[in-house]
């Protein structure tokens, strides 16, 4: 079926989507919870530490740097 073909095409964005929701989901949750705790007063790098772990996990899973 045509839908099956299109949905399995792996683009970098699809990979990012996959890894941010599955491979690195625990780091994503930790980061999300941190933002949730401060969301009324967020400023730059409010959750820097949590995001660094999340970002590190994503970079390893994607096998590339950015």
């Amino acid at each position: 079926m045509q839908t099956a073909k299109t949905s399995t095409t792996v683009t970098p964005l699809r990979q990012l989507a996959l890894h941010s929701t599955t491979t690195c989901s625990s780091h994503a949750t930790a980061y999300g919870k941190c933002i949730l705790a401060v969301y009324a007063d967020v400023r730059k790098d409010s959750c820097k530490q949590e995001f660094e772990k999340f970002g590190q996990c994503l970079r390893e899973a994607m096998k590339r740097k950015w």
């Binding site: 839908t3 990012l16 989507a17 929701t21 999300g32 933002i35 949730l36 967020v42 995001f51 999340f54």
Partner: protein
């Protein structure tokens, strides 16, 4: 010298009639009507959305528009009148028009600014005669003569119009006296989850925000706009369609396939992958459902207005009631 320059600048600009008059508080922009949306970009996005994968993706994401078209049809069926022709403004492939039956109208005239979207579906899928016109919704009076139409409907297209007051005036002008306008458009709280998730992610990661979700019309402004355009016997109500997605990524993909990508003038054409990943995490924690999926809210404003005619029913004279409301309530 200065005066001369000013005169020259005015002469260089062709005089055009703007259908909406500017409010005094805003600085008069050079283009007549304040441009919020990039209409050319929007047309391209919608063309591409239909061309991608031979329209498979576009058909998959019909669910929001089909649902709203269905709810709008209930409102049309409440109106006991048979029309000769109904104009579907911003019809898309005809989500609303396909639901029309021969008992309600003889013919449907579909107008849309995206040609591929307009021609996506075959005539066989419609139960009534179809005519398609590829034209800009913002210049409706270029394709429809004044006082010519019995009914104009618009299902989920007015949220990309720059000059909403002007388009409503044009709709009223194109209608015959006692003509019907029935519309549905996305309203203020649409996609508020995505809006807030992206804002929080951008502030935390980049230290600032930029427009990703369009500014949308507030519900309470619609009745003002309709009466300002000259409609009478107004009915405005709101409704919500909530859709669940596995994650923010599927929502973004579906919005793209709907042709509903960002088209705000001055938008950023680039979103850093860190920001996107952050937004996905925030979306889930801030708005997510218990089962791990995420909701997206589409707020719909339905509106009905009639072009004035002397014989239309009117409210009775104040104080002419025979029954005391106290007895009824």
């Amino acid at each position: 010298m200065f005066l001369l320059q000013v005169v020259a600048r005015h002469a260089a600009r062709p005089w055009t009639r703007a259908f909406a008059s500017e409010s005094s508080s805003s600085f008069p922009p050079a283009t007549g009507v304040y441009q919020v949306f990039d209409r050319a970009a929007k047309r391209k996005q919608r063309d591409r959305a239909v061309s991608r994968d031979a329209g498979v993706g576009s058909r998959t994401v019909d669910y929001v528009r089909d649902e709203v078209a269905d709810r709008m049809m209930e409102r049309l069926l409440d109106i006991r009148r048979k029309f000769d022709t109904i104009v579907d403004l911003g019809s898309g492939p005809g989500h609303f028009s396909k639901l029309l039956e021969p008992e309600k109208t003889r013919k449907i005239l579909m107008i849309d600014s995206s040609e591929t979207t307009l021609n996506r579906d075959q005539d066989e899928e419609f139960e009534v005669e179809v005519e398609r016109v590829h034209a800009d919704e913002e210049n409706l009076l270029d394709v429809l003569p004044r006082n010519s139409q019995e009914a104009i409907v618009s299902c989920l297209s007015l949220h990309w119009v720059n000059d909403l007051p002007g388009v409503l005036v044009q709709i009223k002008e194109a209608l015959k006296p006692d003509g019907l306008f029935l519309g549905a458009m996305f309203g203020g709280d649409t996609l508020f989850e995505l809006r807030t998730a992206l804002q929080l992610a951008e502030v935390d990661r980049e230290g600032g925000i930029s427009p990703h979700i369009s500014p949308m019309t507030d519900t309470k402004d619609i009745s003002n706009l309709l009466s300002r355009a000259g409609f009478t016997l107004l009915t405005v109500d709101i409704d919500e369609v909530r859709v669940g997605y596995p994650s923010m990524w599927e929502l973004l993909e579906d919005l793209r396939d709907m042709g509903e990508s960002n088209a705000v003038v001055g938008r950023r054409h680039f979103l850093h992958r860190d920001t996107l990943a952050a937004a996905s995490a925030i979306y889930k924690e801030l708005h997510g459902n218990e089962d791990g999926s995420i909701p997206a809210t589409f707020q719909i404003i339905y509106m009905i207005g009639w072009k004035p005619e002397p014989n239309q029913p009117k409210p009775l004279e104040r104080g002419s009631a025979q029954t005391n409301l106290k007895d009824v309530l």
